[in-house]
């Protein structure tokens, strides 16, 4: 306790030097915290861009469904899986798919029909809000159809038009039906743009003569639960069904995320090193500055261990106070960036990848990691950077130390 008290008093004996070091440390800590929060935010946004629209953080299918999209490979116990997901706080929605033909006037095209639960789709994913014209389906109304952007264009279909759908139903029969176009999606990736014909679950089951069974359960916790945890969380309810995370479902996108996280990670490390070197320099100079003081202390009979101990205590105390201020500043800064964000749209224009429009606003993301890492770095650098001159001073002859310039 007494050491800390003396250290504190010692620090303020040269208040200008201490204040300069303190401010440098605090600001560096704050900037590092904001930097890390921006990096985390970038990666989180990139993942959310890939998953929030329609894919989700993970999906459940019957074994082999993804290979051939067979109408007959359905999940056996969808209700148990949906319940398990929702009990774990994971948003979940069921989808049923089938191939067929859509026609308007004398134009026709192959389509990939989706049977969806509109309200669950709206609360869990962005696709239902990703409407260019008209509106999405509702739970209560049947007879509506929502088309992908390009398939609507190739059919020359507009909102309100009548669509004839013809499919080969699950019993093999040729099954036709009429629907009205309620909405046309915005661009949402090539497959959806070219092929999607989205129906209410009840309409889909009528068209495909399929009274039960779903092909896909898409899971989205919107970042609350790590996708890698989901297979484990849902394991008891899965039965024979398979769960895959977005990294397995979108391997190309996963690679891009890995690549960009590696590059932004390297930039982050360089930034950390640069900041660390700056602080090391400040601390080295601040300690060298006191060589003569250490010489006098030695002349008065202070042991080397005591000198080193005092210097370390001072350095630690200084970094403790500085990082505390830094945390407050850094949190304030990253909170602002988390809520308001950086509008990169003014610089880069609208960014889109694989037909998916990206949010141009760059949001930070605060986590324990974004605070702990900068603070720990500051502590370690402060202590180590003052340790070296302290050891040097402790080993010098008092007269030499006193004459040290």
């Amino acid at each position: 306790m007494i050491t800390i008290y003396y250290s504190w008093r010692n620090l303020w004996r040269n208040s200008r030097r201490t204040l300069i070091t303190l401010i440098a440390l605090a600001l560096t800590t704050a900037v590092l915290i904001i930097n890390l929060a921006l990096v985390e935010g970038y990666l989180k946004d990139a993942v959310a861009n890939a998953t929030d629209l329609v894919v989700g953080e993970a999906q459940v299918h019957a074994p082999g469904y993804l290979e051939d999209h067979s109408l007959y490979k359905t999940i056996e116990n969808p209700d148990a899986i949906l319940k398990a997901a929702r009990d774990n706080g994971i948003g979940a929605t069921e989808r049923t798919y089938g191939y067929g033909l859509v026609s308007v006037g004398n134009k026709s095209a192959g389509a990939f029909f989706w049977g969806v639960k509109p309200s669950a789709e709206k609360t869990t994913f962005e696709l239902a809000k990703h409407i260019g014209e008209g509106s999405f389906l509702t739970d209560s109304e049947t007879g509506g159809i929502v088309l992908g952007k390009k398939i609507a264009r190739s059919l020359n279909a507009n909102v309100g038009d009548e669509i004839i759908a013809v499919v080969q139903a699950a019993d093999g029969s040729l099954s036709p039906a009429l629907y009205n176009v309620t909405g046309i999606l915005k661009s949402a990736g090539e497959d959806i743009d070219r092929g999607a014909a989205i129906l209410n679950d009840a309409d889909f089951r009528g068209l495909f003569v399929m009274d039960k069974g779903v092909h896909e359960i898409a899971l989205n916790s919107k970042g609350r639960i790590a996708p890698e945890m989901m297979p484990q969380l849902l394991a008891p309810a899965l039965g024979k069904a398979e769960i895959k995370t977005w990294r397995q479902l979108l391997p190309a996108f996963s690679d891009i995320i890995n690549l960009s996280s590696a590059s932004i990670g390297i930039i982050g490390i360089v930034f950390f090193l640069a900041a660390g070197l700056g602080i090391m320099n400040t601390m080295l100079m601040a300690t060298y500055d006191r060589m003569r003081e250490f010489g006098i202390l030695k002349a008065l009979g202070t042991g080397p261990a005591r000198i080193i101990g005092n210097v370390l205590a001072e350095a630690f105390l200084l970094s403790l106070v500085a990082t505390l201020i830094g945390i407050i500043l850094g949190l304030a800064g990253s909170y602002y960036l988390q809520v308001v964000g950086l509008d990169t749209g003014k610089v880069s224009g609208e960014i889109s990848f694989a037909g998916v429009a990206f949010d141009p606003v760059w949001h930070a993301s605060i986590s324990v990691r974004t605070i702990i890492l900068p603070v720990l770095e500051m502590w370690v650098i402060c202590v180590l950077a003052s340790l070296y001159p302290a050891i040097l001073a402790a080993r010098l002859e008092p007269v030499k130390a006193m004459l040290h310039v």
Binding site: S108, G172, S173, L174, P176, A177, L178
Partner: protein, 239 residues
């Protein structure tokens, strides 16, 4: 008889003549018939009966008689265009060119099979690759490779006919990587309206040997003239 002249000269029909004979087997100025199509797939089996009218090489109309659920569903083909009439919703749709490779009525035939106007002798280069006794029957095998400019989806087809009668026994269809895609087997030869024709055609997809589509002619005539108005959209929708 001209056939005797050919025999007298070479003893046999040339490969070109055999291909033409097979291509014209079910074609005539006009043909009317009734057929049964039995489809077996991994997940379901069903049987359809249908009435067919065909005229020349580019007009045909097929109307489903049973099952009741699909009764009246009809397919009209004129030239390269196909329309499907769907009585359940009282609408007619035109099958787009991109849908041509899709299954017709859930069978192992495609829409393309219905419209195909190609003639083996014209659109393929061919040679006789076997001539002798196979499985106790004297057969001739002709292998056809599509000409580069021909719009043919296959990489190769192999036709086997009975020697002397030149009635087809089988056609093997290969894709462009020369993998067998499907086998078409002809059987149950009967004399209908003065022609010897196989009454039964079986298609087996190579990747799913347990599946098949069997088309059986219950009756076919080549002598009744058909008016062109039969092959109109109006007749398609209002028979």
């Amino acid at each position: 008889m001209p056939l005797h002249v050919v025999y007298a000269q070479s003893g046999k029909l040339s490969a070109r003549d055999i291909l033409n004979k097979v291509d014209d087997l079910y074609r005539g100025d006009a043909s009317t018939g009734e057929m049964t199509m039995a489809i077996v797939t991994e997940n379901w089996s069903r049987t359809l009966t249908m009435q067919i009218w065909a005229k020349g090489k580019d007009k045909s109309l097929i109307r489903i008689l049973s099952p009741a659920k699909e009764q009246g569903t009809a397919t009209l083909r004129v030239g390269n265009d196909i329309w499907n009439y769907l009585p359940k919703v009282n609408r007619t749709i035109k099958v787009s060119s991109s849908m041509m490779s899709q299954s017709w009525m859930g069978s192992h035939f495609t829409n393309d099979d219905l419209v195909r106007e190609s003639r083996m002798a014209d659109d393929y280069t061919f040679e006789t690759t076997f001539d002798g006794v196979r499985d106790g029957i004297k057969v001739i095998e002709i292998t056809c490779i599509p000409k580069p400019e021909a719009a043919i989806v296959w990489g190769k087809i192999v036709l086997t006919v009975k020697d002397e009668s030149y009635i087809p026994l089988s056609i093997l269809y290969y894709d462009e990587s020369m993998n067998l895609v499907r086998t078409l087997i002809f059987s149950d030869i009967k004399n209908m309206d003065g022609r010897d024709i196989p009454m039964k055609m079986t298609v087996v997809p190579a990747d799913k040997p347990d599946e098949s589509t069997i088309v059986t002619y219950n009756q076919i005539t080549f002598s009744t003239p058909i008016d062109d108005s039969v092959f109109s959209l109006r007749n398609l929708e209002n028979p």
